[in-house]
């Protein structure tokens, strides 16, 4: 049994992504936490933004990757694409949850509340619910082919829905009651932008690295189960022969 050529490629290159992520995140964290000045308005609190913003960007990037993977799966029906989709969905859920969590930690000192029904917060929450629904759906389907197909359908429908959700929530907040708390328009100076760039690139690389490792894991798991099944059936056949 040979290992899929895509997996071979991934095995060869994943180290670069992991190393690049460690380097970028290291530089970014140093610049963000120590090298850059505190914000004029927000003080030291602003430093969590160096984690929060890249997490949020990566979460959205992950959902786009999930959608492309899902379309690809429905088109080609290649199980390895589904392994990638499954891996990216779990990562996307984790990144979305972390983005929400760090946003709440930032909101407490800045807005003086853990939670507000702000448009962006609300649409991110809905995104998280869709992703959790996706992961739950997959555990409830017995047939792996059906599991992949149903997951892909949900991901694509969710992708179409997300802009409409964001749009409707934004209208609802702005029309319904004037937003009591809103993000102050912080014009970003270069001192803040450089660490943010490092962190964003680093987070995307980290995401890619984790995606590669997890896809590989799911692929090998599938291979192992297939092999196990074959061995078992051979064993039973040989027993019934004798």
């Amino acid at each position: 049994m040979t290992i899929h050529r895509v997996i071979r490629k991934v095995q060869r290159f994943q180290g670069w992504f992991g190393g690049g992520a460690a380097l970028c995140l290291g530089v970014g964290l140093y610049l963000g936490l120590i090298g850059s000045p505190p914000d004029y308005y927000q003080g030291e609190v602003v430093r969590i933004m160096y984690i929060h913003v890249p997490l949020a960007h990566t979460a959205l990037l992950a959902y786009i990757v999930l959608t492309i993977g899902s379309l690809w799966y429905l088109w080609k029906r290649d199980p390895i694409v589904d392994n990638m989709c499954q891996a990216v969905a779990a990562l996307s859920a984790v990144f979305t949850a972390l983005a929400l969590g760090t946003g709440m930690i930032w909101g407490k000192p800045t807005w003086d509340t853990w939670w507000t029904w702000d448009a962006r917060l609300t649409s991110f929450t809905v995104l998280l619910l869709i992703l959790i629904g996706y992961l739950m759906l997959r555990t409830f389907v017995d047939d792996p082919e059906k599991e992949a197909r149903y997951g892909a359908i949900l991901a694509i429908v969710g992708f179409v829905d997300l802009p409409i959700i964001h749009f409707s929530v934004e209208w609802w907040r702005t029309l319904h009651q004037p937003q009591s708390i809103s993000m102050r328009g912080v014009s970003i100076s270069s001192g803040l932008l450089v660490p943010l760039m490092f962190m964003s690139i680093g987070m995307s690389l980290l995401f890619s690295y984790m995606l590669m490792v997890r896809t590989q894991l799911l692929y090998l798991d599938r291979l192992l189960h297939a092999k196990q099944g074959r061995l078992l059936s051979q064993f039973h056949l040989s027993k019934s022969d004798s």
Binding site: L137, F140, D142, Y150, I153, I156, V157, V160, I165, W172
Partner: protein, 225 residues
């Protein structure tokens, strides 16, 4: 058999089944009545407060009863392997989808029409002038709910824990419908000028078109086996 005939037969079949068993609509109506009852316990409402929250209560009741109807739509097809029979229909699968959407829409809309007078009586609403506008809101929102709901009804019918998974998957996706329907209904009940909530009607219309098309397309993949 043309695709149009497939749609017609599916609608006809669902109507006849419903007329003979009277399962779906009656269970939807009674469930909605219980929801209304629970809500009136949980908020002690005078007429002023009722105006503020009634649109929300109404759409929570409609959405939950809609999910009951949607869930039944395909789970009844499991008996006698009717689902396999549907999958063997030689016409495009989209025809089955449109038939099911039409039937589900009709059931939900009938239930909403039956329930609305109860809301009017129980919460002392005055709606004589806005009745046609409210019907339009009900129509648009119900098209949206049934368009995406039918897809997920078909998708969840063949998995474990389908009664739980249908609302879990469906409710986050219909957030725009719920917001738009509640805001528009609130506007209409308060007698606000149409210009204030016109955009919600437009949003509902856009949602209906987008998700009828997307679900129509995705339904092919749900049904292929």
């Amino acid at each position: 058999m043309t695709s149009f005939n497939v749609i017609r037969w599916i609608v006809w079949k669902d109507f006849v089944t419903e007329l003979r068993s009277r399962e779906t609509i009656s269970s939807m109506v009674f469930f909605a009545l219980i929801v209304i009852l629970i809500f009136s316990f949980s908020f002690s409402m005078d007429q002023q407060a009722a105006r503020e929250v009634i649109a929300g209560i109404m759409w929570v009741a409609f959405a939950f009863t809609g999910i009951i109807g949607l869930g039944k739509s395909f789970s009844t097809e499991l008996q006698n392997d009717c689902l396999e029979a549907l999958q063997m229909v030689p016409e495009a699968k989209g025809a089955i989808y449109l038939g099911k959407v039409a039937a589900n829409f009709a059931f939900m809309f009938v239930v909403e029409i039956l329930l609305f007078p109860m809301f009017v009586i129980l919460f002392n609403l005055e709606v004589v002038e806005e009745i046609s506008l409210l019907l339009l809101i009900f129509f648009l929102a119900t098209v949206g709910l049934s368009a995406i709901g039918t897809l997920f009804s078909a998708l969840t019918v063949q998995i474990r824990a389908r009664e739980v998974m249908l609302p879990i998957l469906l409710l986050p996706l219909v957030v725009p419908v719920m917001i738009a329907a509640v805001e528009a209904t609130k506007g209409a009940l308060n007698g606000d000028p149409l210009a204030l909530y016109e955009q919600w009607l437009k949003l509902l219309a856009v949602y209906d078109v987008v998700f009828t098309v997307v679900s129509f397309w995705m339904f092919e993949f749900v049904m292929d086996s």
